[in-house]
């Protein structure tokens, strides 16, 4: 079976890799419009920040990808696609992984601005930051903040212009937004909320209130839109994205769609976790590993982690009918809010130093019951039974308390030794074998012996 994948991004390359690991002989071709080999788009902000080198963000593909090949049409009747150069490539099964493109608001002058979506965008931005000291980012969603963080990491002073009243409004509540704003300020990023841009140039924005903001560089990061042109023209059912069923098939059963371009139910995701799960499902179907595999969307988790920022947001923050837990320490930039329904995490936002963030994400992801003591979710590891057996005063230790685990020696056994006249550590060791295992109880044993010597046991 000839498997043809259109799109060599996060979804397409992953599918090729999954196909080849399930069946090394699978006949797979990938067509990528970009000139670059498949790369990990998640890491673009890291490239922007100077952490990853561009050639270090390659994705392991499975099939030979043809790069710089743009598909212009699908001939569904003939089961073939046509490329820009007029080449026709046949398929038995076609997967559209065309992704999404940067959304540029229809403002006068904005068409000249640089977007932040592809490796080429990244190179374009990097090409302009030499000698630059300030940057403007239009958009205070996840993408905009990633761009801003990357630019700030390069030492630029950054202004973020956002039309809505709080940052990342799809993921955060207003308290989280305020804490995040404060954190960003410390990183050299100033946030302007409720600020609608009305006109723009290559390095300036005019806001609705008449202010004009200038910088050495303007980056537009206002989100993305599914790339559905090819599917639309081929007559496939499209709404916001290419409509697919639970088996990820489009309205043509020989064509599947995965990743940002695909719409499951009413949802278009834009996240990598669903794209990779979709790739896995399609690979299992097409290799026969599980011909009837169906797709269950993973729970959506948004994660922004860069030096100075640690943000996780997931699920719904609709408080109605939910337990609403929160912790905030604005001075340290820490904020956590969890909504719990039916003993499960229904939504959460965690910002700053939250040791429990990994646990909360897993509870949400796997729909596991939350701890009976909810504080463990907000405060992390300290309440999780991890305190070691340290006792301030030997007097408070029960006689049955084990002092030496390795040789099962209790405090009572040490007291008995003392009463029998063994008052030197070596004698106690000989009798009880205390401290002879891992040796970590030595301080405790000496403490007990000192306490006995002080006569407190009498």
């Amino acid at each position: 079976m000839r498997i043809l994948i259109v799109g060599n991004g996060m979804a397409g390359a992953r599918l090729a890799s999954d196909l080849s690991s399930l069946d090394t002989r699978a006949d797979v071709m990938v067509l990528g419009a970009e000139q670059h080999p498949a790369y990990n788009r998640i890491l673009l902000s890291s490239v922007l920040a100077g952490k990853h080198r561009p050639h270090d963000i390659g994705l392991v593909g499975g099939a030979k990808a043809r790069l710089g090949v743009t598909v212009t049409a699908i001939d569904r009747a003939a089961q073939a696609v046509t490329t820009e150069s007029g080449e026709r490539i046949g398929y038995d099964h076609l997967i559209l992984a065309t992704g999404s493109r940067a959304l540029v608001p229809p403002l006068p002058g904005l068409d000249k601005a640089i977007t932040f979506r592809t490796l080429d965008d990244c190179h374009r931005i990097l090409g302009q930051i030499d000698g630059a000291s300030t940057a403007l980012v239009l958009g205070g969603g996840l993408l905009g903040l990633e761009a801003a963080r990357g630019l700030a990491g390069r030492g630029l002073k950054v202004d973020v212009v956002h039309a809505v009243g709080h940052l990342m409004e799809r993921q955060l509540d207003s308290n989280a937004s305020r804490v995040l704003e404060r954190t960003l300020t410390e990183l050299g990023i100033t946030v302007h909320l409720n600020a609608s841009a009305v006109r723009a140039g290559a390095d300036w924005l005019e806001l609705a209130d008449g202010r004009v903001m200038r910088a050495d560089l303007l980056v537009v990061a206002c989100g993305v839109r599914p790339e559905i042109g090819l599917a639309t023209e081929a007559g496939l059912k499209v709404e916001r994205g290419i409509v697919i069923d639970e088996r990820l098939r489009t309205s043509d059963r020989r064509i599947s769609a995965i990743g940002d371009c695909a719409q499951v139910g009413s949802e278009v995701s834009g996240l990598v976790a669903p794209a990779w799960e979709q790739a896995r499902v399609v690979a299992r179907q097409l290799t026969g590993a599980e011909p009837l595999a169906v797709y269950t969307p993973p729970a959506p988790v948004t994660r922004l982690k860069a030096s100075g920022i640690d943000l996780a947001a997931m699920g719904s923050l609709q408080a109605e009918g939910a337990e609403d837990l929160s912790f905030q320490d604005i001075s340290s930039g820490t904020y956590a809010r969890l909504l719990i329904k039916n003993e499960r995490v229904a939504g959460a936002v965690m910002l700053g130093d939250n040791p429990s963030v990994g646990k909360v994400i897993q509870l949400f992801d796997r729909k596991l019951p939350v701890p009976l003591d909810r504080r463990a979710l907000l405060l992390g590891r300290s309440l999780d039974g991890s305190s070691s057996v340290e006792v301030d005063s030997p007097a408070l230790m029960p006689d049955a308390a084990t002092v030496c685990q390795c040789n099962s020696v209790t405090k009572g056994a040490l007291v008995n030794c003392w009463r029998d006249g063994r008052r030197v550590l070596a004698e106690v060791v000989e009798r009880t074998r205390v401290t002879t295992g891992c040796g970590s109880c030595r301080d405790t044993v000496e403490g007990i012996m000192n306490w006995l010597a002080r006569g407190e046991a009498a």
């Binding site: 994705l59 392991v60 999780d384 991890s386 685990q405």
Partner: protein, 676 residues
């Protein structure tokens, strides 16, 4: 009073101990300042002598459960083996060995199987223990010695990462080095799904979802690359395969790894950065290795160590913690299905010729590679009609144990050598009572690759033989009429001399090790190719024993556990050890108190209405067991734990095997709980 300096019979730390015979005939254990344990012992060691005169000790051979003479037993074994081999094939008789046997026994057992029985079927319980780490180390370094440096190096490390190792309970005197390392100001990071005593003492405890250590290792390497922590000049000059590995971890960005493992990104970053501060050592143990992806997991941690330039750098490196007493020597000298002594491969013509010359047979007579432990046990009763077991108790220690017990019961003939009637011995047609550790001489190779001496305090009690004598006598009887005159010796020092010649020129080269040197030097580290050459405490300082001297890096990918939880079996079961017990418990259960239990989180217990001590039925797809609940906040609420020393626990575990090492996935399977 008769006194000898010897080592503990149990784990691979092989603590030095003194044994003295009291006037009343009893045996007393005393401390001994050996470089590994520095006088320390745990309760297993202190009480080890109690089994010597234990009332349950076997005193005579058993045939069908009735006492018999040795001659009767030998005659029956020989005639049964010959009958079965005549009727079926040489390969219809198999041998199952153990990682607690001395080097001399291990060597003899491999020879006995290949030469006296002529069977390809020999494997051992180390397959359930060290095989994943061994396979990964061999691939990467060209050599598998658990620790390529002396234990004392651990205390000097600025950062120490232990992955799936609970030494505070499994080998307590080892933990002295951890205490010392922390006291020296070192950072200690422990990776374990349970907050074990080892984890609780660490600077940082990473508590991953069971079965996700591989993703963790890949995520750490991702961060190492992103933050420019890789040692590019080391990688350039001392390794091969970096480009592919580097590319392969781009897909393991921190947020993804956090979601897979449950370990917060901040902790991942802390760990990666800590590994770059001065000297650093990464150690894996069974927690990371006993998985159907154990080899890949170890490979990923080795890649991480290599990227950081650790192996071969003084005080730094990668190692694995060997578990069984002679788990190291036991995997070197020919009781593995694919192996000849000296860590040679049985499919290597040069190795076959070398061994054939020593054994005095034709190279063509040496059988080819056999199959791995679980696969071999799975063939019992069908292709394999007779089995001889030495130093192992697979009814308790094999995964999917109910099935394996059934396979054992279907054998035409089962022979077990042991000193007590273990669960496996109880199924045997013939049981041969053999000496214990304090009654025999020999060598062991500890977790550092240090060859050490086991010394006899006293002779075995009357009527009790030794494993070597059993092999020698059966070897002689089975080889009767063999004009080549193959010899099987029962004296351990003579066997060791043959082992020296056999290993000469091999990877694990003992040619220069003598018992006298071992005594004089507090043990000798292999490789030691000549009597006038020093041993090798530290490996890899200038090159790796690969054809081009470079370590090999291989890209690996994370994959899910073989048996994920689902609605029917919603909890992970993980297994491990407790402080007071050793392996299948055949020895320690007769000495130390304790019983099976199921550890579960109080939240889980509360949701299910269980209290401390509630009898619980634990059910997996393969079997079930009963155990009282033990509540502990140290375990994740999605996971339960049971100690594997007790019959029943391994009836639950999964026989999904690692594709390379054939290690079963002991550490994760899916279960559900019911009130019993």
């Amino acid at each position: 009073m008769n006194t000898v300096a010897t080592h503990c019979p149990y784990c691979a730390l092989q603590c030095g101990m003194m044994l003295s015979e009291r006037p009343d005939g009893g045996v007393e254990v005393g401390p001994r300042d050996f470089p590994t344990n520095r006088g320390g012992l745990c309760q297993k060691g202190w009480t080890a002598a109690e089994l010597l005169d234990h009332p349950e000790r076997l005193t005579a051979p058993l045939i069908g459960g009735r006492e018999a003479t040795w001659d009767e037993a030998y005659s029956l074994i020989v005639s049964k083996i010959l009958d079965i081999q005549r009727e079926h094939s040489k390969d219809a008789v198999a041998v199952f060995g153990g990682g607690g046997l001395t080097n001399e026994k291990v060597y003899s057992l491999g020879k006995f199987a290949r030469v006296a029985l002529g069977t390809k079927h020999i494997d051992y319980n180390g397959r359930f223990c060290m095989s994943s780490a061994a396979a990964a180390a061999n691939k990467a370094f060209g050599l598998d010695r658990g620790l390529p440096f002396p234990l004392a190096d651990l205390a000097e490390a600025d950062t120490l990462v232990l992955v799936g190792a609970n030494v505070a309970e499994t080998m307590p005197p080892f933990a002295r080095y951890l205490t010392e390392q922390r006291a020296n100001g070192g950072t200690q990071i422990v990776v374990d799904p349970r907050a074990t005593p080892t984890a609780r003492n660490a600077t940082l405890h990473l508590q991953p979802t069971p079965g996700t250590d591989l993703a963790l290792a890949l995520g750490l390497l991702h961060i190492v690359i992103a933050e420019g922590l890789a040692d590019e000049s080391y990688v350039e000059s001392r390794t091969a395969g970096w480009a592919a590995v580097r590319a392969s971890v781009a897909g393991y960005w921190p947020a993804r790894v956090e979601r897979l493992t449950g370990i917060p990104v901040a902790d991942l970053e802390f760990t990666a950065r800590a590994l770059k501060r001065g000297k650093a050592i990464i150690l894996t143990a069974r927690g990371a290795e006993q998985h159907s992806k154990g080899v890949d997991t170890v490979t990923a941690f080795i890649n991480l160590a290599l990227a950081l330039g650790l192996p071969g750098s003084p005080g730094s490196g990668f190692g694995t913690l060997t578990g069984q007493g002679n788990g190291q020597g036991g995997r070197e000298h020919g009781q593995k299905a694919d192996q000849l002594p000296g860590y040679r491969r049985i499919d290597d013509p040069a190795a076959r010729a070398h061994m054939a010359a020593i054994w005095g047979i034709d190279a063509a007579e040496i059988p080819g590679p056999g199959i791995s432990a679980y696969e071999m046990l799975d063939l019992l009763g069908t292709q394999i009609k007779a089995l001889m077991v030495f130093g192992s108790n697979p009814v308790v220690s094999a995964p999917n144990a109910r099935h394996i017990a059934g396979r054992l019961a279907s054998l035409d003939f089962l022979v077990v050598c042991d000193f007590v009637l273990s669960e496996t011995a109880a199924l045997a047609h013939v049981v041969l009572p053999v000496a214990q550790w304090a009654e025999e001489d020999g060598t062991m190779t500890n977790l550092e690759g240090r060859v050490i001496r086991r010394r006899a305090l006293r002779k075995p009690p009357p009527g009790i033989g030794t494993d070597l004598a059993v092999m020698a006598e059966l070897g002689a009887r089975l080889s009767h009429g063999n004009k080549n005159g193959v010899r099987f010796d029962s004296a351990p020092h003579i066997v060791f001399e043959e082992l020296r010649r056999a290993t000469a020129g091999g990877v694990a080269d003992y040619a220069g090790v003598t018992w006298e040197r071992v005594d004089a030097e507090d043990g000798v580290f292999w490789p030691c190719p000549a009597a006038d050459r020093a041993g090798t405490p530290r490996l890899f300082d200038t090159s790796f024993p690969t054809p081009d001297g470079r370590a090999r890096m291989f890209p690996v990918e994370h994959r899910p556990v073989a048996e994920e939880v689902d609605a029917e079996f919603p909890l992970y079961l993980t297994t491990g050890r407790v402080l007071s017990q050793y392996q299948s418990g055949a020895q320690t259960r007769r000495i130390l108190p304790g019983g099976v239990f199921l550890e579960l989180h109080p939240d889980l217990a509360s949701r299910m209405g269980f209290d401390e001590g509630t009898p619980i039925r634990v059910i997996s797809r393969r079997g079930e067991m009963l155990a009282p609940a033990r509540l502990s906040p140290a375990i994740r609420p999605d996971t339960v734990f049971a100690p594997f020393h007790y019959p029943g626990v391994n009836e639950l575990t999964s026989p999904a095997l690692d594709p390379i090492s054939r290690m079963p996935e002991f550490k994760v399977c899916a279960v559900r709980l019911e009130r019993a």
